[in-house]
Each structure stands twice: as C-alpha cells, then as structure tokens.
C-alpha cells in the first residue's frame, strides 16, 4: 500500500499510466511543458523491455510511434502546442489507417511559441480538426493527477479497442501540478489489447470489419504480408481510387466511434433535481468550477456541475437533455470559447449559455465563476 501512495506530477502520472497500460514504445521530441513525460519513459521503458527514442522532430516522432504500433507495441508520444501542430500530418495517417496509439498534448498558450510555461485549453478544436479532411477523433481531458493516470490507461484501451489514435489533452496546470495520489493495484486495472485476426494470411483482408466496426490487426512479421496506405482503400487495404471506397471508409471510420458513444463518452455530473445553473468544464478549469459550486450552494444558490472527461466525441445528446432543464449553462475555458460552441449548437431549450474565458496564461479563479453564477441566478 505505502509504495502506491505517491506525490506525482500530471506528466509523471502519464508515465505511470502508460506503464500500467502496457506501453512498450515512446518516440518524442523535447518540448515544454511535456518533456517530463519523455524523461520518465526514457528511464522506465527499458526496465519493462520497452523502447524509447528521441526523434529528430515532431513529425518523425508521430511517424515512429505509428511504425512501432504496426510492429505490435503499444505506443505513445507526447508534445505541446507547437509540436501538436507538426504531428497533425501523421496523426491523419494514423486515423486513416487505423493505428492504435496515444498522443499526449500538454497544452500551453499559443499560437506559435506563445507562453511556453503557462496553461491553456486552446488546442481543443485543434484536437478535433487539426489534420485535414473529416476524421474520427477521441480526445480525453483529465482534471487532476489521479485522473491523468486513469485516463492515460483509458486512452490506451480506447486506442486498442477502436484501433485509432487517441489524444490525451492535458494543460500545463494538470501536467506540472503535483498531487498525492493512491495508485490502484495492478490486478484492479482493466486492460484492452487490439483484436488479432482469427483467419490465416490467405483469407485475411486487413480492413475487413468483423463484429463491431473495427478490423482485426496482425503485427508486421506475422506472415500476413498486407498493404496499408493513406490513400482511400477498400477492405483489401489497396487503393482503387473509387468514390464509393472513399465514402464507405469514411462512414465506417466515423461510425466506429459514433456507435460506441456509450463506452467512449465519459463525463461526471453533480446536479441536484432543482439545480438551475450548470457549470460545464474540463481539465484544470474543472477544479475552479467545483470550488465555485460548493461556495454557491453554501449561499443557497441552486447550481451544479458537469465534468467532461471525453471532450471528443462531444456528448451532444446528453447536453441536449441538460439544456432542457437548466436555466443557464456557464462554460469556463482557458481559450476564447471553443467547447462553448458545441454546447450552443446543442441547446434547443431556454437555457442561457455564458462563457468565462481567459487566454493570458492565468487560471480562471473560483471567485470569477462564482461571480458569474451570482449574475445569472
């Protein structure tokens, strides 16, 4: 028990979570405030027979991680805004060819070099739309060190289960904050591994979905000798250049995420029956929201909160329901308003939607949320 109580940074919790999830490969490039993840895995991975490589740039890191996953290893890379921009090219390939891997972005203030050591939630939309074209996205956002550990494992599980890159969006506060955490016992952690083909090479089609919409995936070197390309392809993996193949593949890629919303969409709420004001938040901002709500309740205000752990796909149906009963929804974000657009799009009732936005590298304080609650009550 004693050695499971640890003082961990969010970045260190990613390292612990990755090891617990069975990660065996990391490729990355140094960047503040994510370098602690690379440093931690450089030390830890070889102990478990895993591999670490520091690549020449961010593009190469993303490529390398996809290559390692094709060889059969659970793989992860970590970066921050400027590097996340560079990773988009190969992240798109990873989504197109359905490669399980985890991409961590410890958000800092952007654009460009911005404020390298200050927190931000400015890459929420980039996580969804960063690479070109339509594409399926799973993005998770922890709000504490313990949640970072848990969601890192979840990210690997979703990646393996749905055969897709999963984005883990930390922010500088969560990444660098230290908290006392009690790590679970190994046997209490649920681990998913990618589905392997049940047929031999002669009957194998690499992009033939079996049950669910996820095709099984053999490792390179297992004799399947299959082809993979970033061109639109049919179930054989080869491009035919037909419009039909393009539509079919895109529809399946989106459907494999959308049809599993009940598994993928993670959120928590503390809303009492008569709560009228809802604060919806994610990441470090959630901490201020919870503090503000408990102060508001002490003052007799009927307010509750929603914590999004899965940001993408956005839980549209759930928010629609919340919108029907709430008087006002307040969305504090460390950006100029990104998730608020998704909320607005899904509100059809009378609920007012208000944003609290900061993008100067400082946190939203509990009192700022409390003031807004008092204003709208």
């Amino acid at each position: 028990m004693r050695d499971r109580i640890k003082l961990l940074q969010g970045d260190e919790a990613v390292v612990e979570g990755a090891i617990a999830a069975g990660a065996k490969f990391f490729a990355g490039y140094p960047i503040t405030p994510a370098s602690e993840i690379a440093e931690g895995l450089a030390e830890r991975l070889p102990i478990y027979g895993g591999k670490f490589i520091q690549m020449e740039d961010e593009l190469a890191s993303m490529a390398c991680v996809i290559g390692a996953s094709l060889s059969g290893l659970k793989s992860i890379t970590a970066t921050s805004g400027p590097g996340f921009s560079l990773k988009q090219e190969n992240l798109g390939l990873g989504m197109m060819i359905e490669i399980p891997c985890v991409v961590v972005n410890v958000q800092r203030v952007g654009p460009s070099t911005g404020l390298p050591t200050s927190p931000s939630q400015g890459d929420v939309m980039q996580a969804k739309w960063g690479t070109h074209g339509d594409h399926p996205v799973i993005a998770l956002a922890p709000s504490s060190v313990k949640e970072t550990f848990e969601l890192t494992i979840t990210a690997f599980n979703f990646a393996e289960r749905f055969r897709t890159p999963v984005i883990l969006l930390l922010d500088e506060i969560v990444g660098h904050m230290r908290e006392k955490v009690v790590l679970p016992n190994e046997e209490d952690i649920e681990i998913w591994n990618r589905k392997k083909p049940e047929v031999g090479p002669e009957d194998f089609n690499p992009y033939q979905e079996t049950d669910g919409l996820v095709p099984p995936m053999p490792n390179y070197g297992e004799g399947y000798r299959y082809h993979t390309t970033g061109l639109f392809h049919d179930k054989t993996g080869f491009p035919r250049g037909t419009n039909e193949d393009a539509k079919n593949l895109m529809d399946r890629l989106m459907a494999k995420i959308e049809s599993n919303m009940d598994i993928i969409s993670l959120y928590e709420e503390d809303i009492r029956d008569d709560d009228e004001i809802i604060v919806l938040a994610y990441g470090s901002t959630m901490r201020s929201a919870i503090n503000a709500i408990s102060q508001a309740r002490k003052a007799g205000i009927k307010a509750g909160w929603i914590k999004l752990k899965t940001i993408w796909p956005f839980p549209a149906d759930y928010i629609k329901e919340v919108g029907k009963r709430a008087k006002a929804i307040i969305i504090p974000e460390l950006n100029r308003g990104q998730i608020i657009k998704e909320v607005r799009e899904n509100i059809f009732g009378n609920a007012e939607v208000h944003g609290i936005n900061k993008y100067d590298g400082t946190l939203i304080k509990p009192e700022e949320i409390l003031n807004m609650i008092q204003e709208v009550k």
Partner: protein, 273 residues
C-alpha cells in the same frame, strides 16, 4: 541464374502505374532480385515507402508494406525496426521524397546507423506532380517551376549520408541491372544504415524538357556517365567531369542502433534483478 520474382510481387496489382520508359519498374524488379539473392524471409520483411512515383513501389511488393506520408518513410521504418529488430526493413523513397521534404529524416536515420536499407530512386524530378524541379535536378536544367533555368545546386547524396553516419553507401543505375542486384543484395545483408541511390530515368517529365525525350537515350546517358568505383580513382579530374561513380562507395563496420538499445535493456533489467 533465375530469381523468384513472381513470388515477391503482387501479381494481381500489376501492371504498375509508372509511365512507359520509366526506370522505377526496373529498379523495383532488381530490388526484388536483390531480396531473393540475399535470401530474406519474406514473412519478416517490411517495405515502407513515401509519396511520389517511388512511393507506389510498396503496393506491388508482396511483403508487409506501408505507403506513408510525404518524406517520412524513414521515420516510420525507424519505429517498425526499433519495435521489432528481427524484421528486415526496406525504405523506398525518391529524390523529392527523400532529399527534399524527407531530408531531415534521411540524415538522422544515417546518424543513428539504424539497420534500414534505404533505396532512393533518383529520377531528378518530381514526376508524380508532372515535372517540378527537385534537389537533384541538375543546375541549369529545365522543369515546370524553373521556367528560366534551375539555379539550385544538387546534393551529393552519397557524401551527405556518409557525413551523417551511414555505414553502407552505394549507387547504381537502372541501366546496369546486374550491378544494381549485387548492390541491393549487399546492402540488404549489411547491418546498419544502408543508403543506395538508384539512378532512374523519367523521360516524360524530365527527359522531354531537357533534350532526352526517349528512355533509350536516357539509359545510354546513364551508361556513358557512370563509372565503376573500381575505375573511378584512376580517372583524372578532367575525365571525371560529367560522370559519377557507381558500386559500393563506402562500407564500414559500425555499431548498430537497435543492438545498442538492446544492450541498454539487458543491462537495465540485469540491474533491476
């Protein structure tokens, strides 16, 4: 001697998309002969390619094959190889893919001396996009994006990869198939970063604009301008003008990346016991 070409080609994907007269098919055919000569286990061999005419080769070759993004093939291959060092990993790239957009990955792959065999099909032009100049388009030549003549200088790719740390460097031509097969086989069996520049011809998008509109003329040009490395040093500077050496240009026994990493794992695990 006969090579098992058919077995290593995906027959149902042929004919290939390369233009009539293109050298890429010849080079791919000889690479396959080289793989056969080196006796690689086809189940343990992975071919990774980038974007462009050269990038299409992976689709025709009957191994685990990966057609990646533009210029990044070596980075993907690095992940594949480091994750499973038992695999033979071959990269097929071009002069635009490997020397321009992927130039950084080329020098860093060489620097690590990771055990990859990189085949750079050099046709001196961006063929797939119809004839823009590449870093290997000779200075003064014509391309669609050099309407007033090319002022850019070329890389010496053999010199670049040698300075970067590659431990096997060779050059061959689509013209000299026998030599190319030998080079490929030797490069594939070499442990470490093997860089092989294979001179190809693009009559459609390079030759046509530069006074060499037939593939035969371009192949003759390859024949006349290439000199075996064994004879190269005996040529005077005057005789070397307009010519280039072919064959194995450099070879060195040097520690390989994945082997060194395995030593780290072994020692760390020993210590942890």
């Amino acid at each position: 001697m006969g090579y098992k070409i058919d077995e290593y080609l995906r027959q149902d994907k042929l004919p290939h998309i390369w233009c009539p007269g293109c050298g890429h098919g010849t080079i791919m055919g000889n690479l396959i002969r080289g793989i056969d000569k080196a006796n690689l286990d086809p189940d343990k061999t992975v071919v990774v390619s980038g974007i462009g005419c050269s990038g299409r080769a992976s689709g025709y070759m009957n191994f685990d094959t990966l057609h990646t993004t533009h210029g990044r093939a070596i980075a993907f291959a690095t992940g594949i190889k480091l994750a499973n060092p038992k695999l033979n990993v071959i990269v097929i790239t071009g002069d635009g893919d490997g020397a321009a957009i992927g130039g950084n990955h080329l020098i860093h792959g060489a620097r690590r001396n990771i055990d990859l065999t990189v085949v750079l099909m050099n046709n001196h032009i961006y063929g797939m996009t119809s004839g823009q100049f590449s870093p290997m388009t000779p200075t003064g030549d014509n391309a669609t994006t050099t309407p007033y003549g090319n002022i850019d200088q070329n890389f010496d790719l053999a010199g670049l990869t040698k300075a970067s740390g590659a431990s096997f460097i060779a050059r061959g031509t689509a013209y000299n198939t026998r030599q190319l097969i030998e080079i490929f086989a030797e490069g594939l069996l070499h442990t470490g970063f093997s860089f092989i520049e294979a001179i190809s011809q693009c009559p459609v998008n390079y030759g046509r604009r530069n006074g060499l509109s037939s593939a035969v003329d371009m192949l003759k040009c390859q024949r006349d301008s290439s000199v075996n490395i064994r004879k190269w040093d005996s040529l005077s500077e005057e005789e070397k003008k307009g010519k280039f050496p072919t064959g194995v240009l450099y070879k060195e026994d040097k520690r390989e990346y994945t082997e060194m990493y395995q030593e780290i794992i072994d020692s760390v695990q020993e210590e942890a016991k």
